[in-house]
């Protein structure tokens, strides 16, 4: 195995009864890479992270982490990973500090040894270090869980939806912190339903219905969108989405905040073509710009398979 690779998953399948959670999933993650699984709830992200964390065996397929096999060498792997599940799983009746000591202790480490890794997030919860973990607010629980997952300085950090339900400001701070840990040499795999977070990763796998739709750098994913994309706004947004969706040459029309993102089946369609059509529908104050696709545009195109 290439020594630059930290995780290599081949052809993973996992079913729960008649429900398929993973359908022939393959990917690899390089050392010190920040790798994102981007997709909605129910896509299979949690199942995949549990397999990587050796908490679950795949039905078929193999996973190697470093030089170890995820099924046969799970004890070795558990020493080298830090895993933060999507559901809060720390000891509710231990205090903040006791939880942290416990997780450092079972890995034969101390808080002092690796404090620099958690410094910027633990600082924010240390005023509450004597409070029981179960009595923390949601945001603080998340910060504590992340601290506990990192305090033994893992080679590989597995984070299952660490930012779900977290506000935009805290999410931004969180990603800045992850970037620093990556620079410390830690490989990080993170799952998220927020499409805009794809841009914070080195590479992403877009995940939907138990399958990977695409794996690449966010820049390459958006560069390969494949059609000219327009952002359109008029004085009547309620009728605009309807009028664009029923335009005879429409390929796609989706709301994006104050604009509608529109693509046309005609490769040569111009802004004045669209403007002409919208004027005919009675729209005024028409604003049309050509824009670069976002990861969310690409995800929807792949989902709809058009």
């Amino acid at each position: 195995m290439n020594s630059e690779i930290m995780v290599e998953a081949r052809d993973l399948c996992k079913n729960y009864g008649t429900v398929t959670a993973l359908d022939h999933v393959s990917f690899s993650v390089n050392k010190a890479e920040l790798f994102g699984f981007i997709g909605p709830d129910g896509a299979g992200k949690t199942t995949l992270l549990r397999i990587l964390a050796t908490m679950l065996k795949p039905d078929t397929g193999t996973v190697r982490i470093g030089e170890y096999d995820a099924v046969n060498d799970y004890r070795k792997i558990r020493n080298m990973i830090g895993y933060m599940p999507g559901k809060f799983s720390l000891y509710q009746d231990l205090t903040v500090e006791e939880n942290l000591q416990f997780f450092a202790g079972i890995f034969g480490s101390t808080i002092k040894d690796n404090y620099y890794l958690i410094n910027d997030i633990y600082d924010q919860i240390s005023p509450f270090k004597n409070r029981q973990a179960g009595k923390l607010s949601g945001g603080m629980k998340q910060k504590l869980a992340l601290s506990c997952a990192m305090i033994h300085k893992p080679d590989l950090l597995l984070l299952d939806e660490p930012t779900t339900g977290v506000d935009a400001v805290s999410r931004k701070e969180f990603w800045e912190m992850l970037r620093k840990r990556k620079e410390d040499g830690i490989t990080i795999i993170v799952s998220t339903p927020y499409m805009d977070e794809a841009g914070k990763c080195d590479r992403v796998a877009l995940f939907q219905n138990s399958k990977i739709l695409s794996t690449d750098t966010p820049e390459n994913i958006t560069a390969n969108y494949g059609s000219v994309l327009f952002a359109v706004r008029t004085s009547n947004m309620y009728t605009l989405i309807h009028d664009l969706k029923y335009c005879p040459t429409v390929r796609s029309a989706h709301s994006f905040g104050q604009y509608i993102h529109y693509t046309d089946k005609e490769i040569n369609a111009t802004m004045s073509d669209i403007e002409y059509y919208l004027r005919g529908k009675g729209h005024s104050e028409i604003e049309i710009r050509q824009i670069d696709a976002t990861v969310e545009d690409c995800f929807m195109r792949l989902m709809l398979n058009d």
């Binding site: 499409m195 989706h254 709301s255 905040g257």
Partner: protein, 243 residues
């Protein structure tokens, strides 16, 4: 100024827990049929405020009327005239779609005849004929969210409170969900919504941003962007939400 079109009128609303002030003199009003975005960082006091607005807890001081009813004297009336939906608590997983609808409609005291008629209307509108007797737990998340919203407005409340309704939903379903929100607003239902998706903040008619228990900004998304010199609501939020 009291406008009869205002469905929610809050004046100097304060909610304290011991010496901690969760809501600090909130003053705002929400019009009939308006889509009102209620934004703020985690811990800013949004959930506390929503509980008060829904009649689940009394304010410490201040005035509040919802749908014309005073919080201190007609709390039960408020509960009957609102709808509520959150990501966490929505439908009973081990009841079928139709059983869930009947259960909620029954709680709001609708007659059997009305329940029957509206159930058929809803099943038709959401195209659920073939799955009507399926258990909720066997449905994809996106469907659950749409059904959950429909159930929350089944008794035709004057205002519906949506607490992070689209969290974790795929981008196509998220947009379909917002189309349902617009349709409800066009039918005259006031929509009061919290979200962490900043593009969704731009879909609202007006948005308030809460910081440390106070409302620090309240305006149309466009005006907020202009005032804060930002091209989108994400920029506005990042600028205001952590002061």
């Amino acid at each position: 100024m009291v406008n009869s079109d205002d469905i929610i009128i809050a004046r100097d609303l304060v909610k304290k827990f011991g010496d901690f002030t969760a809501n600090d003199h909130l003053t705002f009003s929400v019009k009939k049929g308006e889509v009102f975005g209620f934004l703020g960082a985690n811990g800013a006091g949004k959930t506390t405020a929503i509980k008060v607005l829904c009649g689940l807890s009394y304010p410490t001081s201040g005035e509040l009327t919802v749908s014309g009813y005073n919080i201190y004297t007609h709390r039960e009336k408020i509960k009957q005239n609102i709808g509520y939906m959150s990501q966490k608590f929505s439908l009973y997983e081990d009841l079928s779609i139709v059983e869930n609808i009947h259960f909620y409609a029954g709680i709001y005291g609708l007659s059997n005849k009305v329940i029957r008629e509206r159930t058929e209307e809803l099943i038709g509108m959401l195209d659920l004929q073939n799955v009507r007797n399926k258990l909720i737990k066997d449905l994809p998340l996106g469907w659950k969210q749409k059904i959950s919203f429909s159930v929350a407005i089944f008794h035709r409340p004057s205002v519906v409170f949506l607490d992070e309704p689209t969290s974790g939903v795929d981008p196509i379903t998220r947009r379909q969900f917002w189309q349902m929100i617009y349709d409800a607003a066009h039918s005259g239902i006031t929509v009061f919504v919290t979200t962490h998706y900043m593009d969704e903040a731009e879909y609202c008619d007006r948005v308030s941003i809460m910081v440390d228990g106070k409302i620090v900004a309240l305006d149309t998304p466009l005006n907020l962007m202009r005032l804060n010199d930002s091209v989108n609501m994400e920029g506005v939020f990042l600028k205001l939400a952590r002061q």
